[in-house]
Amino acid sequence: MRLVRAGTRNLFTILQTLGVTPASKRLLSQNADLKRTALYDFHLSQGAKMVPFAGWEMPVQYKSGISEEHLHVREHVGIFDVSHMLQTRVVGKDRKAFMESMVVTDIEGLKDNQGTLTVFTNDQGGILDDLIINNTDKDFLYVVSNAGCADTDLAHMKANEAKFQESGKDVKLSVIDTSLVAVQGPGMVSVLQPGLDFDLKTLPFMTTTEGKVFGVEGCRITRCGYTGEDGVEISVPHSGAEKVLTSLLSSSQDSVKMIGLGARDSLRLEAGLCLYGNDIDATTTPIEGNLTWLVSKSRRPKLDFPGAQIIVDQIKNKPSKRRVGFVSSGAPIRGHAKIFSEDGSELIGETTSGCPSPSLKMNVSMGYVKTPFSKNGTKVKIEVRKKMIDAEVSKMPFVPSKYYILK
């Protein structure tokens, strides 16, 4: 057996990808440069299969496997170690203008403790990374961006920081060195509330607060996630991370399990959320990526963010391609599959990611198509192993989101 997506790789390589490298091999030099989170030993004690991911050794799955972990998050509560993500603190009175100079979203207008998803763009309007910026009431911005882009994000922000400081502006950024764990699923409130010193009802989706979690001081709790479920991400001092996890895992309120990167990917796909490097990258604009809503109305006329002219033109005149979702049955569709018009005569795009959906028992995928083919319900053909699979453009999220939004 061998991995189809990579052509020449056999099952042995897949098994390694899935984290089946025996303990003895882990000691070899190939992994010597990989970083480990503070929860590394805890993951091993929970039966995690560790794999290299974005320069880190991370759990891809635990004992029960990807499908079961996936469904557990949809029905109960799952915990993800996302300490590999880049957490940054931005201080100074010009901190909002500083972030706005790199992203497409209104940051000045964020209320206290409110956060937003946004994207760093380049001068061509391409996306450098997606990130979340929280406007804390403690005079700093709390920024979380992708592990895979950590080095380039930091270099990008540092270069901009130097420019701002040279022009006499007041801004300073620093990396936050804490663990970051996501607690996701319909039972999140029931298992987390008993350990908090504040009421989760006061923390709607995309807001943040400081707090004590199961006795651990100095945590930051943000109502967000990457699964489509109600959930939080908790930034917790390394020394207290394991205590928070063991407290949650032993909850009598609901079943809580550790969840690996494998299920994280299938959960975010069902939720229609982009994976940077697959579904969006430096060659796609936020408009092509179906993220127009990130480009705040107040920012559009000012044209004061990288690639603004191209991005605003695309809002007015439609881009030539758009990211859409697909549902299909039969052979699962993954990334890099060619998309054709319904009669098979015209190549109209390529998929960027996809998987069999554990919740829906059908296949979900996303990809870019020429704009005339981007309407929901459009029938297309997608090529898998030289066979044409019937697929249909579908609205996303594929599985309805359950964020805690105050009416």
Partner: protein
């Protein structure tokens, strides 16, 4: 291969081979001695009974792939060579090619897998078989491992 032959020389299926004392290649002409299950380094197995071979994947492979949700198999009547990609197994995370352990003509596929691919997970060596072959005349098993050698292979890789 010589090493694994030596290690397994006490097994009955090998004993007749070693007595015959021919080249290390084990040919189908000795099929009477070779009614056994063999494994590939790619984690498929073939169960050889006379001129018939039944193919599946190992317990180790199914465990690592996770719940299999889709199976693609060769057409009945197709002629395949050993190491040909003849099908595909898909779990939530990965798509894996199935490579034929032996050459021959596909005589039957496991229709039950179409409605219940998870049979591969629940019964990889029995109900989860993939397809059957009328084996080619010159089928060799010298590149394949018996159960014991395969277990050792899995331990060390």
């Amino acid at each position: 291969m010589a090493a694994s032959l030596a290690r397994t020389a006490l097994l009955p299926t090998y004993r007749c081979l070693s007595r015959i004392n021919v080249s290390p290649a084990r040919f189908m002409s000795f099929s009477r001695c070779l009614e056994a299950r063999w494994f590939t380094k790619e984690h498929e197995w073939v169960n050889i009974e006379g001129q018939k071979g039944t193919v599946g994947i190992s317990n180790y492979a199914q465990e690592k792939l996770g719940e299999i949700v889709y199976v693609e198999m060769p057409e009945v009547g197709a002629t395949v060579e050993s190491d040909d990609v003849v099908g595909c197994l898909e779990s939530v995370k990965a798509a894996s090619d199935v490579m034929s352990p032996c050459g021959g003509t596909v005589s039957e596929i496991n229709e039950e897998l179409k409605s219940d691919p998870s049979l591969i997970n629940s019964s990889p060596l029995d109900k989860g078989w993939l397809y059957k072959l009328d084996l080619a005349e010159d089928v060799k098993t010298d590149e394949l491992m018996d159960a014991e050698a395969y277990d050792e292979f899995c331990q060390n890789h």
